[in-house]
Structure formats: structure tokens, C-alpha cells
């Protein structure tokens, strides 16, 4: 597996516009974007379930653009678990091998191995309806693993799980990837999943790539306001020229709540009134309403001012992101 390039456009609505990227061997690439950004369409084009209007998909040295899905040597994990309800777990895991007429004894040993890896040995004879949500998800991972494909494609595999299971299965996927080292494209709308799982992240919006880079790159040096706002625990604070004096050439200044400090009124760059405090336990989010802005600051528990107090906001220099009028990063 050498690389994978893909670029095409689709007409009315253009679900994807000239999307290109490469995937290097053993990499875990996360494609992240809001709903409707074309993430799933992209993945389905790579899998061959949809045909791009233009552009091509390469896996290794092969151009697979016109090959049917089954001939591309990829395995896909779907948002819905997509297990066959009338088959046992072991038959479900064996399905991709049986579909390719693999000899029975090879199938058996491969199923045993995949089941052992995902801790499913005890439930092999059950049916999907008898399993918990987390177990079903692990079965769909096992079914992808059993084929030993060149690329894994994962379409929001955690979306249908509840919060506590999500963390567990995320860890499972990370461990599985480390163990197998198979190149993986992982699609999600959740920025936390993207930050914690991805070696590299592709940020998609309206079918176009906004930025590609490592999690640290994207967090520390977002290419535009959208990326700055999309990644991070809280919405980023944005200030335009009505809110404060900006350096020349700068149209918008973005500072994350975690890099925003409360000061005495007048001491910071801007000032306003505290209108709301959200206590999160060890820390709290303080919402400040200024004359031409609304901003949030993260403070430690016990350091919250009273609601209604006038406060200033100060920003530590390296964490201030400046964008020009055409929404491009400065510096």
C-alpha cells in the first residue's frame, strides 16, 4: 500500500469538491466535519459504493476507481452495526471469507483469531439480537479484521453508542490499529474522537478540504476560522474590529476559552460583564458579554467571579489566532 489519492467533484449538490489526500502505510487518518460535509460520501466513494463524477482512487499501485467494491481489498465498518440478524456471531465474522470461497479450515482459524483479538470467544454461538451494543460493535470490527484488507474504512463507528461505551470502543480501535498496523480512514463528526485517534486529520466542510495536518498542527495553527472553531472543547471566542482594535490586515482574532484569562476591568484587551457561569466540576466556563462580542473563559473551580461583575479578558500571545479578510491565517 503506497498511497491513495482522490479528487473529484459531483454536480448538484456537489457533495464533494476536489477532495485530495494521500494515506501512508499504517497510518490512521481521521476525516472530520459537521453533518452534511460529505464525509460519508467520500468514504463510500473510496469503498466503491458510490461512483465519483471525476477523479480517481488508488490503493497501492492499483487504480481502483472503476473496480467494484469487493475487488478493492478494503474492509468497511458502518455506522449502523450491519450484522446479519439471522446468523450466529461466528457466521457473521466468517461472512467476508465465505463470500470469497475461502477453505473451511482457514475460515475457522481466522474467525477464532479475530474473535480472540476482540474478546468475543464467549459469544460466538449467539445471535446479534442477544448481544449488547458494545459487543455488536466489536463483532463488526472483528468482521472487518478477519479479511486482513489493505485499508480499513470506518464510518462513524461510535455514533450509535452511548457516552461510556464510546470511550471503551475508541480505546479498542486504537489498540487494534496499533496491533495490526493497517492503514485506516476513520470518519467522524466528533472533534474529540478526531483529536485522540488521528495520526493526521482532514477537516472537511461543504465537500471541500479546509485543512490537513496532525492534531497538534490543527489545534495550534488552524488555517481558518472554521477549523479554529470546529476543533477544541468549547467554541472559540471571535473578535472583529467592532470588538477591539486589531493589528492591520487582521479581520478576525480567535482565542480559545482555555487561553482566555480573566483580569481586572481595563487591564485586558477587552472588557464586559459576566452573564453566566457553567460549573463543570474542577473548572467552570465564564461567559462574558461585551459591547460587540460574547466570549467565554475557562477558570479553575473556586476562581469564578460573581454573575454581573465587570471583568477584563487577556490573551496569551502564542495562542491568539489572527485571520485576514479572506479567512486565511496570518503568521
Amino acid at each position: 500500500m503506497e498511497g491513495l489519492t482522490k479528487s473529484y467533484s459531483r454536480s448538484v449538490p456537489p457533495a464533494l469538491r476536489e477532495v485530495s489526500f494521500e494515506l501512508t502505510e499504517g497510518e490512521l487518518l481521521v476525516v472530520v466535519g459537521p453533518s452534511g460535509s460529505g464525509k460519508s460520501t467520500l468514504l463510500r466513494c473510496i469503498a466503491g459504493l458510490e461512483a465519483p463524477d471525476r477523479g480517481s482512487v488508488h490503493i497501492g499501485n492499483r487504480d481502483v476507481t472503476s473496480l467494484p467494491p469487493g475487488a478493492r481489498d478494503v474492509a468497511m465498518v458502518f455506522q449502523e452495526h450491519a450484522l446479519y440478524p439471522h446468523m450466529t456471531i461466528s457466521a457473521n465474522i466468517a461472512f467476508p471469507l465465505l463470500a470469497r470461497k475461502t477453505p473451511r479450515d482457514e475460515v475457522d482459524s481466522a474467525v477464532r483469531e479475530a474473535a480472540a483479538m476482540l474478546d468475543l470467544v464467549g459469544v460466538l454461538d449467539r445471535h446479534p439480537g442477544q448481544l449488547s451494543g458494545g459487543e455488536r460493535r466489536r463483532v463488526s470490527l472483528a468482521r472487518a479484521v478477519v479479511r486482513e484488507p489493505a485499508v480499513f474504512l470506518m464510518d462513524e463507528p461510535l455514533a450509535s453508542l452511548d457516552v461510556s461505551l464510546r470511550l471503551k470502543i475508541r480505546t479498542e480501535i486504537k489498540r487494534m490499529h496499533a496491533q495490526l498496523g493497517v492503514a485506516t480512514i476513520y470518519v467522524t463528526h466528533d472533534q474529540v474522537e478526531a483529536m485522540t485517534l488521528g495520526h493526521r486529520i482532514v477537516v472537511l466542510k461543504d465537500g471541500a478540504v479546509e485543512q490537513t495536518g496532525t492534531p497538534t498542527d490543527l489545534y495550534d495553527r488552524p488555517a481558518n476560522v472554521f477549523v479554529a472553531g470546529f476543533l477544541g472543547r468549547f467554541p472559540i471566542n471571535l473578535f472583529d474590529e467592532k470588538a477591539m482594535t486589531l493589528p492591520s490586515g487582521t479581520a478576525i482574532l480567535g482565542v480559545r476559552p482555555e487561553n482566555t484569562e480573566l483580569t481586572q476591568p481595563g487591564a485586558g484587551s477587552v472588557s464586559g460583564h459576566v452573564i453566566e457561569i457553567d460549573r463543570l466540576g474542577s473548572e467552570s466556563v465564564v461567559t462574558v458579554q461585551g459591547e460587540a462580542f460574547l466570549a467565554r473563559a475557562l477558570v479553575g473551580s473556586g476562581e469564578e467571579p460573581e454573575t454581573g461583575t465587570e471583568v477584563g479578558l487577556a490573551f496569551a500571545e502564542p495562542a491568539v489566532h489572527a485571520f485576514d479578510p479572506s479567512d486565511r491565517r496570518i503568521g
Binding site: A47, P69, G70, R72, A75, M76, F78, Q79, E80, Y84
Partner: protein, 284 residues
């Protein structure tokens, strides 16, 4: 909302009065001699004793049984086959679905006329094609087995309602299963055999049970129209036999006994259908 439950009782009570009780009374007719004019005369189980000894009844029972054995598998296969071929929303598939549905809603009389002409041994197109191929003229309506086959064939094209049920069942299968199978490299036939048919099994069984029940009904009109129960009584099904006893010979008591026997067969088929539905949780 609970109030509407209370409204159900008068309706069901009416249904019971109008259908269930009279049905029992009609069953009682089976133990009488009755011409439709005088009062029924009680004769005990005479009618049923006569039925057992009546070679005409046994023949009709055999004909109906043969019809079920020949027709039901073909019809169910056609329903499910058409549903699998035409479930996609593609160009022309709407027209194709309409074409499959059409023969079912053609008026029975028109449909029978059409087949009468199709199978005409002198001028019909079937005979014409056979002649063009140098084969003997098929004697479909004059040969007992030919006539049976012709009536089965007529039924095979009237699968509209079952087709719609099978179509809905196929469409309710989740698309992700098929996407997944496709990425896994499974062939269309492999997926049909391992995924589609097993998942549609409950509906297929239901369609088959329903068709057994319907077979007792649907065989009546074509037999009356096309073959008049012949040749050599090969298409005198139970329904036609009962009809003749009642409305040609005015033996209403005897006809009731035949109707009771048909009802027992129907009830058994419905019970089988109910068990299938219950087992696969298709009913509440």
C-alpha cells in the same frame, strides 16, 4: 385514548352476530336436507357419510390438492422473484412493477377471455408458435393435465398483492447489510441465498400459507370460465363442486357439508399462518 377500545365491542359484537353465529348455523345446515324452498330437514351426519362415499367429492378434493401443490410454489416464487428483481428505485422499474401488478386487477372476465383466446387450439398464439416451431398443437384445454396446467398458469400471473407484500418486505431490509456484503466481495447470488432469502423467510412462509387459503378461492372463476370444470372433471375443484351441488342441483344441505369441509381446510391453513406469524413476531 382508552375510550376507543370500548367502541370496538359493539362492532365486534355485530361482526360476531353477523358472521360467527350464522356460520355456526350454516354449519348446522350441513346436517340437513334443504332445497332452499321448504324448511331444512334434519338428517344427522348423512351428508358427511355421503361425502366420504362420493367419488365426485374425492375427485374435487384431489383436484384442489393438486392445484395447491402446483400453484402455490410457482406463485410464491414469482412474487418473491419479482420483488427481488424490481425492488430498486431505478428508471423503468416503476413501469415494470405496474406490469407485474396489472394482470391482478384486469377484470376476471376479461382475463379469462384473454386466456381462452391465447390457448385456442386453432387460432390462438400458443398454437401458432407451436406450429411455427413444427411441434404438435398443444391440447391445453382438451387434455386433463393440460387444463390443470392452464389454470395454474393463469394464476401465476395474478400475483399483484403478494408481490406488493414481498416488495415491502424486501425494502424493509436494511441497506447497510447490502453495502457491507458488497464491500466484502459477496456475489449477488451469494447475498440472495445467505442474506435476502433467510431474512425474508417469515414473509415467504406467510405468503405461502395465505396462498393456500386463496387457492381454494382463486381456482373457482377460471375453472368456471375457461374449462367449466372439465375436461373429464379434471378442473372441478372443491369450490366449483360445491357451487354445482348448491346452484345446479339445489342440494343446499349437501353443499353446506362441502363448505364445512372447505372451511376446516381453510381454518387449518389460517392456523398454520397464525403460528408462523406468531413465531416470527409479525403479529401482536
Amino acid at each position: 385514548m382508552k375510550g376507543s377500545d370500548r367502541l370496538a365491542f359493539p362492532f365486534l359484537g355485530g361482526l360476531g352476530l353477523l358472521i360467527a353465529l350464522p356460520a355456526l348455523a350454516a354449519a348446522a345446515l350441513a346436517f340437513t336436507e334443504y332445497s332452499g324452498l321448504g324448511a331444512p330437514r334434519f338428517v344427522g351426519i348423512d351428508n358427511f357419510e355421503r361425502l366420504i362415499g362420493d367419488s365426485g367429492f374425492r375427485e374435487a378434493l384431489g383436484n384442489s390438492g393438486l392445484y395447491v401443490l402446483m400453484s402455490v410454489p410457482l406463485r410464491v416464487a414469482a412474487m418473491v422473484g419479482c420483488a427481488l428483481l424490481l425492488h430498486r428505485r431505478a428508471r423503468g422499474s416503476g413501469a415494470a412493477r405496474a406490469a407485474v401488478y396489472m394482470p391482478t386487477v384486469v377484470p376476471d372476465a376479461a382475463y379469462a377471455l384473454l386466456w381462452l383466446w391465447l390457448l385456442n387450439p386453432l387460432y390462438g398464439p400458443v398454437a401458432g408458435i407451436a406450429a411455427a416451431l413444427g411441434a404438435d398443437t398443444p391440447s391445453l384445454l382438451t387434455d386433463p393435465w393440460g387444463a390443470r396446467l392452464a389454470i395454474v398458469m393463469m394464476g401465476v400471473f395474478q400475483i399483484g398483492e403478494g408481490f406488493v407484500i414481498a416488495l415491502a418486505a424486501r425494502r424493509s431490509l436494511p441497506g447497510a447489510l447490502y453495502d457491507s456484503a458488497s464491500v466484502d466481495g459477496a456475489s449477488g447470488w451469494f447475498v440472495t441465498r445467505k442474506v435476502t432469502l433467510p431474512m425474508m423467510a417469515p414473509v415467504i412462509l406467510l405468503l405461502a400459507a395465505r396462498d393456500v387459503v386463496l387457492a381454494l378461492q382463486t381456482s373457482f372463476v377460471p375453472a368456471l370460465f375457461l374449462t367449466d370444470g372439465g375436461p373429464r372433471r379434471a378442473t372441478t375443484y372443491l369450490s366449483l363442486f360445491a357451487y354445482r351441488q348448491a346452484f345446479r342441483y339445489f342440494k343446499l344441505g349437501y353443499a353446506s357439508a362441502i363448505a364445512v369441509s372447505m372451511f376446516v381446510i381453510t381454518a387449518l391453513a389460517i392456523y398454520a399462518q397464525y403460528r408462523v406469524a406468531k413465531r416470527y413476531r409479525l403479529l401482536g
